[in-house]
């Protein structure tokens, strides 16, 4: 669908495009981290692409990969009606240094999207004017959408009431209300135990 865009970017940045693939009619480019900002600037300004809308910017955590994180952008040209997805792999396996250039100077919408991405996954966008948490509170430690964040870990802002059975689920039984909720995911990632997603 947008195969000609892939060709255009490959032509303009022969060394920066690491790979490309298409799925369900959507083309995806994997680019080098050093060219992340330049490729986006090209796609936005070039008359043949005119990507004037940043639809989404997010990241994915692949704990077994190196680099561990993948930052994804979805671009749309409202005038020419084509879309393109770009990915870049960033970060070490510990997730301590995860840095990529900001896109806030190209699209204003990148500001909040990058703040959310930082909040949830801890990706630092170099050059962002106001990189702080957007959804969670400043006292929150860690980044909850990372795969190594414990599924049951909560960080209350105020202490719970000091009464008996404060950890109980509800005053009604598990079979009432929503029985499919509130289950433990602690076994995920442990060796020898299969997660809920795996077939037995």
């Amino acid at each position: 669908m947008a195969q000609h865009l892939v060709g255009l970017v490959r032509q303009a940045f022969p060394a920066a495009v690491l790979s490309s693939h298409a799925q369900h009619g959507d083309d995806t480019l994997v680019v080098a981290p050093s060219a992340w900002h330049d490729v986006h600037a090209f796609l936005k300004s070039d008359a043949r692409t005119k990507m004037d809308m940043l639809v989404d910017l997010t990241a994915v955590d692949y704990p077994d990969r190196e680099p561990r994180f993948e930052v994804v952008t979805h671009l749309l040209s409202l005038e020419l009606g084509h879309r393109l997805r770009l990915k870049v792999a960033v970060g070490d396996s510990e997730g301590e240094v995860v840095e990529i250039a900001t896109l806030t100077d190209l699209w204003a919408s990148a500001n909040w999207l990058e703040r959310e991405c930082f909040d949830m996954l801890g990706v630092k966008f170099v050059g962002h004017p106001d990189l702080r948490r957007i959804l969670l509170y400043p006292e929150f430690v860690g980044h909850p959408l990372r795969k190594d964040y414990p599924a049951n870990k909560i960080q209350p802002l105020i202490p719970f009431r000091e009464v008996d059975n404060i950890e109980k689920v509800a005053p009604f039984g598990l079979d009432e209300g929503m029985s499919f909720g509130r289950q433990s995911h602690d076994s995920w990632g442990k060796s020898g135990e299969s997660g809920p997603g795996e077939a037995n």
């Binding site: 909850p144 802002l157 009604f172 009432e176």
Partner: protein, 197 residues
């Protein structure tokens, strides 16, 4: 004119209005409870999708002003029933407790929906698993969202608890239990603990 039913042990006295001009002090509490339960000033703390059901409740079809819960007060200092309608996040929890602390005694809390009651499926880093972790709760109404009839059951249960001076948490059971396929009927309003069911 209306009448006033006084549960006094095993027998029930009915005083016609205008009679018995001199009330004994032991009955003042009952009269106050009676006045209180039919004039609940409510503070809607609406945070999520259950708010739609709350709107339908206050509309003419279900209309909880029939039960005296007529006037919403958007200042917690003037209200005595706190409706917690929707999911409470960890970030929202200090605000909810502050609202609760600003309310004047006697104050009552009704957890509207599964999220407010126990967190529902929001078993994650962001949400409080039930408002009773933060503030004491009088009536729980499970459901996602609860049926308006269920909420009215909860409101009547709360009125009954106010009349009896009972502050133990109560909850609304479903009228029909899908597990046993039995019709459970209305929520039981215990007029008298000693009376036969």
């Amino acid at each position: 004119m209306g009448e006033l039913n006084l549960p006094t042990g095993t027998r029930t006295e009915t005083l016609e209005a205008g009679e018995g001009a001199a009330f004994a002090t032991t009955r003042l509490k009952d009269m106050l409870s009676w006045a209180q339960k039919y004039s609940l000033f409510m503070y809607p703390f609406v945070t999520a999708c259950c708010g739609m059901e709350f709107m339908s409740l206050s509309g003419p079809r279900f209309d909880f002003s029939r039960f005296g819960a007529e006037a919403p007060r958007f200042s917690p200092r003037q209200s005595d029933l706190l409706w917690v309608v929707g999911t409470i996040t960890q970030r929202q929890a200090p605000i909810l407790r502050r609202i609760y602390e600003q309310m004047m005694e006697p104050k009552y809390v009704l957890a509207f929906g599964t999220c407010a009651s126990c967190g529902g499926f929001y078993d994650n880093y962001a949400c409080v698993a039930g408002i009773d972790k933060i503030i004491p709760c009088d009536v729980y109404v499970p459901g996602c969202p609860p049926r308006p009839e269920g909420v009215l059951d909860g409101l009547m249960l709360l009125q009954d608890k106010i009349q009896r001076g009972d502050r133990t948490p109560g909850f609304v059971k479903p009228r029909r239990d899908p597990a046993s396929d039995q019709t459970l009927g209305m929520v039981t309003l215990r007029r008298n603990k000693d009376a036969a069911p």
